[in-house]
Amino acid sequence: MADLETFRGETRAWLDAQCPSTLRGQDAPVAAVWGGRKWQPAHPDQRVWLERCAERGFTAPTWPKEFGGGGLSKDEAKILAQEMRALRLPPPLLGFGLTMIGPTLLQYGTDDQKREHLPPICRGEIRWCQGYSEPGAGSDLAGLQTRAEDCGDHYLLNGSKIWTSDADQADWIFALVRTDPEAKKQEGITFLLLDMETPGVSVSPIQLISGASPFCETYFENAKALKKDVVFKVNAGWTVAKALLGHERTMVAEAFGSGEGSRATLAERARRYLPGAEAAGPLPDATLRDRIVQVEMDTRSFALTMQRSRDAAKAGQQPGPESSIFKVVGTELNQRRQELLMDIAGPQGLGWEGEGFESDELDLTRSWLRSRGNTIEGGTSEIQRNVIAKRVLGLPD
């Protein structure tokens, strides 16, 4: 414990000294740092901060030092995060490299792969994207068709991937491809790494109903992938993918989880839009008020359930069955909140752009539309319910 407190003191001092003042306070740039070859910092000090943190291993605190990480224990990493929050410092680097492919390579990669890929991730030099879903595949991920033909020392890739977030900004992709078309669906799949600058790789962004989006479609036309870039074993990609996918679902749920700080907002927003609701006291539209209560109550119930799961984890218990509900409950709750916000705003919720709408009203429209995708991406609500019925409740197929 004494060691940890020493660590806390040193870390705090280092952070406070090293983080440029331009990145702190009111005027700090809002744009997050994703790194990569195409990255243009919103402010030059973002690069300074990134380099200093990378140098000390603070972009990937728990990774081994030899691969560019900080080699910190879990407790130390927690303290680092606490001190970052306390000082209100921006994260030096975000991205799929740190949260998805990095941990995957640590678990399944060869030493060569770790040495090649992890340090550039830690330094923010290479940005990664994910190539899982395919046009037409939908929830049936294992039915993927992108073909990798064995040509001796390399594979020839043909096919396309959809929902590849920020593929137009990324340098490398980790992708699932079919290496054995004869095998049973999940058994002929391989997990591959590929440089996006490889000839034959192209990207086009996807327009959503809510407008522009980070999603892309990524095409492979006779793109060469080297055999050394296979992760784990050929035709065993499903094992790697499952580990990674579980990780993604947890992240998605966390994103919808807290509802913190939003408690007053619904009622406040109602006061803004309901005639005669400026004063304190009960909102004049009693049924709208009741719907606000329902969303608030369910948000609180969900937050308490997430807390229950975290408390159990902290106490060293196995994750309980309650964790299987996070994705479906979190996303459907967010949709209900968005629908309610639309009903609260009334005609002012109908703006798309320009004249007659406040900018937060225009945001509202877009985020309502965007929220409809929450119950589709990262495993549809239908799939989630299938999984609960089968794995948790033991109902037969």
Partner: protein, 380 residues
């Protein structure tokens, strides 16, 4: 009232359905949007619809109309709702034209209605201000007498097709306080009148609307519609009729969204099976079917009640609005969900229906507003 179609009505429905499919596919809406078309609909197509007699359906034969009812107009709107046609039926025929037909003097009607029926003139009703929400008695504008004239000031929002209307019918408070039914007057203001500022608004459903600012706009005594201070009840009647029209459009839209979804359920494969075999989706599809069948009945009933002047017309209008609004939103939300990822892309049509559903639900009073109205009319 009989809830069936006559042979004549069947014919109108069939003609309109064929026209919508051939001349007005959803692709047209997409083109108008992507091309940032200044009008936002097709004047040529509008003229064609007028030539087919649809624009004139509810107007008197003396003005070139067919002197038919909402029951007939609803069939046209249902067919056009299937393909999201943005032509100005609600604004020009039911709101503006409806107010003129109900309360206009012989001269006013003669001046405007033949042009409306022929498809040459467009009208709009500027009835809601920034604070109105769904209360027609909150006008957002004032009218003050000066000699023989009236001077209008105030602001109106989301005036349907206000950006292209040749004249606006403007509600304004001439006496009393906002919120009271008494003391509201209606004025006919030509689009080029001094002090009238009209700015187009871009809505999520790609329908056309405008914000309107009135700054000392002067109108003559001959431009007052009906009795001074007496427009409150008229406004409710006119908007009620337009609401029935909107419900018919919603009925067509939800039916088409469901047809698209069913098609998807029958063709899309997942895990080696057509997804329409999954029982959970089947049951949800059955629920949607139920919603639409109920919606169809209430739309038919509300249109007929309007044509027959039934005593429970207002209840039926509120019933139709709640049923259609909730059903359209439900059907399209489910449609996007069942389409999955592609349903979220702009490339597929289903999203257009979802946007329209929400906008339609929040037009002329949302479900909560109309349930409250139903209870009030029922005395509880």
């Amino acid at each position: 009232m009989e809830l069936i179609l006559t042979e004549d009505q069947e014919l109108i429905a069939k003609t309109a359905a064929d026209f919508a499919a051939e001349r007005s596919p959803v692709a047209r809406v997409r083109e108008l949007r992507d091309g940032r078309d200044a009008t936002g609909f097709s004047r040529d197509l509008w003229k064609e619809m007028a030539d087919l007699g649809w624009v004139g359906i509810p107007f008197a034969e003396a003005h070139g109309g067919a002197d038919l009812g909402l029951a007939e107009l609803a069939l046209v709107l249902e067919a056009l709702g299937r393909t999201l046609a943005p032509e100005p039926f609600l604004s020009t025929v039911l709101l503006g034209g409806g107010a003129l037909a109900a309360q206009g003097s012989a001269e006013q009607q003669e001046q405007w209605l033949p042009g409306v029926v022929s498809g040459d003139k467009l009208l709009a009703l500027a009835y809601q201000g920034p604070e109105s929400r769904y209360d027609l008695a909150v006008t957002g504008a004032t009218a003050r007498r000066e000699g023989d004239e009236w001077v209008l000031d105030g602001e109106k929002i989301q005036v349907l097709d206000g950006h292209v209307a040749d004249a606006l019918l403007v509600s304004a408070r001439s006496s009393g306080s906002e919120g009271e039914t008494e003391g509201i007057s209606l004025f006919l203001v030509p689009k080029d009148r001094a002090g009238l500022e009209i700015v187009r608004q871009i809505r999520v459903d790609h329908r056309n609307a405008a914000g309107v600012r009135l700054s000392g706009v002067r109108v003559g005594a001959d431009e007052v519609l009906g009795a001074i201070d007496g427009a409150g009840a008229i406004l409710e009647q006119v908007v009620d009729r337009a609401t029935v029209g909107l419900c018919a459009e919603m009925l067509g839209g939800m039916q088409q969204a469901f047809d698209l979804t069913l098609e998807h359920l029958k063709s899309r494969e997942q895990f080696g099976e057509v997804i329409g075999t999954f029982q959970a989706l089947k049951h949800r599809a059955a629920d949607i079917f139920i919603e639409i069948e109920l919606a169809r009945s209430v739309v038919m009933a509300a249109a007929r009640a309007a044509d027959e002047g039934a005593s429970d017309l207002r209840q039926l209008v509120s019933l139709a609005k709640v049923r259609c609004g909730d059903a359209y939103v439900h059907v399209t939300n489910e449609g996007v969900q069942m389409y999955g990822g592609v349903g979220m892309t702009d490339e597929y049509d289903i999203g257009f229906y979802m946007k329209r559903a929400r906008a339609a639900q929040l037009t002329f009073g949302d479900s909560s507003h109309h349930r409250d109205r139903w209870a009030k009319l029922g005395g509880y």
